[in-house]
């Protein structure tokens, strides 16, 4: 009997608490929509604030995407820490083929590509634009070339270096070059660029905080009377803070969306020239836009920045307003 009563009571309490969660959620939704409505009713100033935030966010996210693209590009080269063996002038194409067959047996070598002398000449003719000059030459001045791709275990800088030294010993090799150095340099450059993007993102993130903070500060000043009266009739600070926080979050979200639009449009504008450039390098490289996870972190991050910015402003200025 008592247990039954207790059960009934706890059921009642839980019903009440779920009701309160409902009411709480409903109120938040109302405040969120009301603050959205307030922004929509002043479209020009909302648009300007949004665009300023958008530009501030578009810069680092655009650079981030470009870097990402550059990395996929260098990723293609990573495996190709290849060694070019320029053979002596006296080495014929047949000898080059024989050497290649021999090298393919080597435990460190994955793949050998042979570019014969005539082949090299043909390629040079096509790409250099010196076709006329070449016509006038009696002999083919170009040596045969073996491009050696080491096995992954030997592609590491030190191991590749060792392989290079070994290959230089071969009699027919005039000159051997490890195409790793510039990959390393490229990595070093992207590392600097990455650091740069982080610094830029931090500074511009800070500017978003300031922009939102300042906008919300003005908003608080404009609604001075309302805040004062709400305090007079018993509005808690949390109640008064809420619409401003939603305001900031909306600004952040809209700023993030406009940043994404700006970046996407810029990438579209760059797409053709990049494809052209890639074509010149005989690469099928294409610029990639933001993927879903990047987009979500951009929008989430911008919303969070807006929220924090308004939080700082509200925290600083709300206490200054006390009814008299």
């Amino acid at each position: 009997m008592i247990r039954k009563q207790r059960k009934k009571r706890s059921a009642k309490i839980s019903a009440r608490s779920t009701l309160r969660v409902d009411v709480w959620l409903m109120r938040h939704l109302q405040v969120a929509l009301a603050s959205l409505g307030r922004l929509v009713r002043t479209p020009l100033s909302t648009l300007m604030t949004t665009l300023v935030i958008g530009i501030a966010l578009a810069l680092p996210s655009g650079l981030y995407l470009l870097l990402n693209n550059a990395e996929t590009l260098s990723g293609n080269w990573d495996g190709a820490a290849s060694i070019s063996l320029f053979l002596t002038q006296q080495t014929s194409d047949t000898e080059a083929q024989q050497l290649a067959t021999k090298l393919r047996q080597d435990s460190a070598v994955l793949h050998v590509q042979v570019i014969g002398r005539s082949e090299a000449l043909e390629e040079f003719r096509q790409l250099s634009g010196f076709a006329d000059v070449l016509e006038s030459l009696k002999d083919n001045p170009l040596p045969a070339l073996l491009i050696i791709e080491p096995k992954p275990a030997h592609a590491e800088p030190v191991a590749a270096e060792a392989l290079l030294t070994r290959l230089k010993e071969i009699k027919q090799v005039e000159f051997a070059q490890l195409d790793l150095e510039w990959v390393r340099r490229f990595h070093a450059i992207t590392e600097i660029a990455q650091r740069g993007v982080v610094i830029l993102a931090s500074l511009l993130g800070l500017s978003v905080l300031l922009i939102v903070g300042n906008t919300i500060r003005l908003e608080i000043q404009n609604r001075h009377a309302e805040i004062e009266i709400t305090k007079l009739i018993g509005g808690t600070n949390a109640f008064i803070r809420r619409p401003f926080l939603y305001n900031g979050a909306w600004y952040g979200l809209f700023g993030g969306i406009s940043a994404w639009l700006m970046v996407t449009i810029s990438l579209l504008l760059l797409d053709n020239p990049v494809a052209h450039l890639a074509g010149l390098y005989q690469s099928g490289f294409e610029l990639k836009g933001a993927d879903i996870s990047t987009l979500i972190s951009l929008l989430g991050g911008s919303t969070l920045l807006g929220l924090i910015g308004s939080w700082i402003a509200v925290g600083r200025h709300l206490n200054d307003i006390e009814p008299t």
Binding site: V23, L232, I233
Partner: protein, 225 residues
């Protein structure tokens, strides 16, 4: 309901808004507070609504010791004290309905309950037909009645009014006073600051007189003496 024990309010710079004031107001009383401008009427009301805190002495309202109330508790205290101002303090970009609904929204009441209570309060002050109007389109007396509806809509046990008839002609003033009497009839404790001596002399209620920050006269004390 309202207890002042040796309350002093000193402002920065040394000026005393109230000096050593003591009085008790019982639940359900309707009391007038009068005195010259600057005598401390507003200061006294502000101490009750916790717009200001006393420098010395103790203020208790509805059993709460206001001296000990933390900042976070102030809003909950103010919900128990309806306040009416001479300048109405309405929000002019919101309808009459929204103005009156504010205390209920703040307290977190449901939509239907708010509608019901706001209309009841507007009906009480005779403005039911103007709920969708903006306050600026109303007359001074009507605006004051909106302020009154807002002060009583959440049914607070205590209502304070600071010069509620200050800008109104005698007929309108009498109307407002009869409204207050109706609230008092249902048990609301009222403290009304006014310098309209003519009006309060006819009301036959307890009168507190402040003079130069001190309580100069308490009509209830006179009767008991």
């Amino acid at each position: 309901m309202i207890h002042f024990d040796n309350v002093t309010k000193r402002y920065p710079g040394g000026h005393e808004g109230l000096s050593n004031v003591s009085f008790h107001i019982e639940p359900g009383e309707m009391v007038f507070l009068t005195g010259h401008s600057g005598a401390g009427k507003s200061t006294l009301l502000k101490l009750i609504g916790l717009l200001e805190r006393s420098t010395r002495g103790q203020v208790r309202v509805a059993g709460r010791n206001l001296t000990r109330l933390s900042r976070g508790q102030i809003p909950y205290h103010r919900r128990e004290v309806g306040m009416i101002f001479q300048d109405h303090r309405l929000l002019y970009d919101r309808t009459v309905f929204d103005n009156v609904a504010m205390p209920l929204v703040v307290a977190g009441l449901g939509h239907l309950e708010i509608g019901r209570r706001v209309r009841a309060a507007l009906d009480k002050v005779g403005l039911l037909t103007k709920e969708k109007d903006l306050p600026i389109t109303l007359s001074g007396g009507e605006q004051q009645r909106v302020g009154i509806a807002r002060a009583v809509v959440s049914k607070p046990p205590v209502v304070l009014a600071d010069e509620p008839t200050g800008n109104l002609d005698p007929a309108l003033s009498r109307e407002i006073m009869s409204l207050f009497e109706q609230f008092n009839d249902v048990g609301v404790t009222l403290l009304i600051a006014t310098h309209d001596l003519d009006l309060i002399s006819r009301m036959n209620r307890r009168i507190l007189v402040l003079d130069k920050s001190r309580l100069a006269k308490d009509s209830a004390a006179e009767v008991t003496c």
